[in-house]
Subunit: 313 residues, 3 copies
Amino acid sequence: MLNYTHISDLSNLKDTIENAIELKADPFKNAELGKHKNLVMLFFNSSLRTRLSTEKAARQLGMHVSILNVNEAWELEFEDGTIMNAGSAEHVKDAARVISQYADIIAVRAFPNLKDKALDQSEYILNSFVKYATVPVVNMESATGHPLQSLADAITITEHHKEKRPKVVLSWAPHSKILPQAVPNSFVETMQLLDVDLTITHPTGYELNPEITKDTPIIYNQKEAVQNADFIYVKNWSTYEPYGKNINQDANWMMTKAKLGNAKFMHCLPIRRNLIATDEVLDHENSLIIEQANNRTFAAQIVLKQLLLNLNN
Amino acid sequence: MLNYTHISDLSNLKDTIENAIELKADPFKNAELGKHKNLVMLFFNSSLRTRLSTEKAARQLGMHVSILNVNEAWELEFEDGTIMNAGSAEHVKDAARVISQYADIIAVRAFPNLKDKALDQSEYILNSFVKYATVPVVNMESATGHPLQSLADAITITEHHKEKRPKVVLSWAPHSKILPQAVPNSFVETMQLLDVDLTITHPTGYELNPEITKDTPIIYNQKEAVQNADFIYVKNWSTYEPYGKNINQDANWMMTKAKLGNAKFMHCLPIRRNLIATDEVLDHENSLIIEQANNRTFAAQIVLKQLLLNLNN
Amino acid sequence: MLNYTHISDLSNLKDTIENAIELKADPFKNAELGKHKNLVMLFFNSSLRTRLSTEKAARQLGMHVSILNVNEAWELEFEDGTIMNAGSAEHVKDAARVISQYADIIAVRAFPNLKDKALDQSEYILNSFVKYATVPVVNMESATGHPLQSLADAITITEHHKEKRPKVVLSWAPHSKILPQAVPNSFVETMQLLDVDLTITHPTGYELNPEITKDTPIIYNQKEAVQNADFIYVKNWSTYEPYGKNINQDANWMMTKAKLGNAKFMHCLPIRRNLIATDEVLDHENSLIIEQANNRTFAAQIVLKQLLLNLNN
């Protein structure tokens, strides 16, 4: 693995999950692997879980961590060939090569603007770092994907499923703001790689990028979709086509205990209580949200471990 | 000790002070105690001394430190049962449980707003972390108390007093802004636990919470109050009743060398020179302000040490 | 060396450069030297290279690093004797002494305002820390100098020159903003100490402080100045007299491949592409900009190493 920008960068997802679960049982087993190595975490957007879990993961591998809120430095230029006489003070081409002098691995968080679909789909920030950095790049949530989250979700499902082939439902929920599709995109892509029965449910108009959902069944009736589910992953996202709209805030799509039944409840957090899901759901013993957050550490750690092993080769 | 939110959380203040003084003489004695343990420091408000001293203390115990300015992430919700469709993106119930996945100890700094007395007195931010976190919580200054500062003050007085029972005076001083009562509250509560002769002096109207001052004498004549004092702790605070007012900026309450006499001068810092006390007082050899700041490290270190020992049991 | 505020603080520049190059070959050679020592980095201004390279350098020496954006704390007072009843909450006299309790070395970045020449020339921020701190102070770019950058530049030239006495040209370039003279000042002062043939070229009116340039030749015709150059260091700066003006944005002063010839291209970064120099220059194999950035780590590391050795004596 040269970078971790997408779940498909893992050569073997199932092995990676198993290795993460082993790491979780003995998190300091590789405490010397990252000795004298530096992880530089670049935030174009704010973070709580990703920041703390990735920092913890790196340190459990013995790495040093430097954290930079890019917006506190200065605006980066991403266009090639421009005369840089306006706002941006440094080209990503130079910034990425420079940061590579100080980092053994660079992790980047850069959300979409949700206004210009082509721009967001181009993943110009993440991909610029991949292109120009001379060290491995880790995606800490980009415009269209959040593969550290979906790896943590896959670990959580692997730990908690009892069925041979669990039924997993991704259910849209209402929100007052316009949110990215990164989390549902990566969740779908990751589940498609596992031996699970995946169903997506959302109101009409909220179809995700069809190149991602492929032939995963979409059921527009939430009640029908969640029947006999073993895991229900609830998440809001804005529309993909037309892009970045919030066309529905129907509170009937909120997850309730009645709808949850005996399924395990999942969400990536942060979650707006009583909007996405009721307090009853979130505080129920079937809620896996805290365990998902915990597994963010081990998702990051197994990814960093693989990158470090590759560096040392 | 399960948490350190108040000086009374220490099972034995005098022993703690002695142990802190021993640690100060050999700060890396327990450099292995915090190995592989992580302190997450959460700042709702800015900090210089608390930030640097607590970080240093944790590292001297071998801990890793993660620092998060909460306001750079997003607004937390503290009300129970609300439909979270407004500004706040995450409930403290979830945030505290999540951060507990990444931390072995959580330290929180959250000032009062000084507008709503009941809200400030409820210590809703600090207490929410105490309630929901699944790891120990340390108070790095809350709405009504600053027990790391008062422990540092107690260490400083213990190191410098020559008298069997020193006379300690807490004297109000004028300020151009409206400041919390956290520092004087904790100072009074801490001095009440030590073998000192404590007197409080301030203009009428600046009485602290009577449940805190209890039967500690209050003398409204500053000159009379400071006579024969061994230690004079100067500090501004706003009124408790009515709440959060700045009713007096009388420069005559500023501490001068004439008033200080041979007493040692104390202040928690930051201090506004020539408003709270004259340059002459602050730069005098009897000023203990820098030593108080130095002792912040050992106050934090002895608290973290006790929490770590408890964790390991 | 007691502090590193200026290139002249190094007792022997050439030996320092040689030692830095040795460190670069074995960066963890002194990984125990800074054990249990803490570097506090204070930023009054934003930073990318300086922040990451100095942090990396300190850690390679085994130090802990604390980073504080001073503006996130509160305004410092620098005037003596004032009644502090306005904006500033803490006097640098106290802040510097307090931070010295938590730091073994303090590093400070504080840019000029470029409005008040006397104030900027006084280096009141950096010099206040030098005056009041009780531990060594490192200049991470001040109002008038950037000696960590110029040391990195000297290392880079030493590594890359083939000539016995290379011709080095400092060439002004246009910019849309008003920039400090810190980088060119330190570059000139550092080159004057080395066995190089230094020439300065800029439009009339951009003369640097004559007390710095001394008898270094200034040629106002860029084309003539760069002839047969081995190294061309390109940089914008604003006028020194009258102070802080941008009197010329003539694009003809941009560095092009034709002008560069076979010389090595240098710049401290961040650089505005196609304004200071063309893409062709920056992406050419003769461009040393990434190597200069890399050498920032070893410049900082050799300086910190010397300060630590001095501390331990």
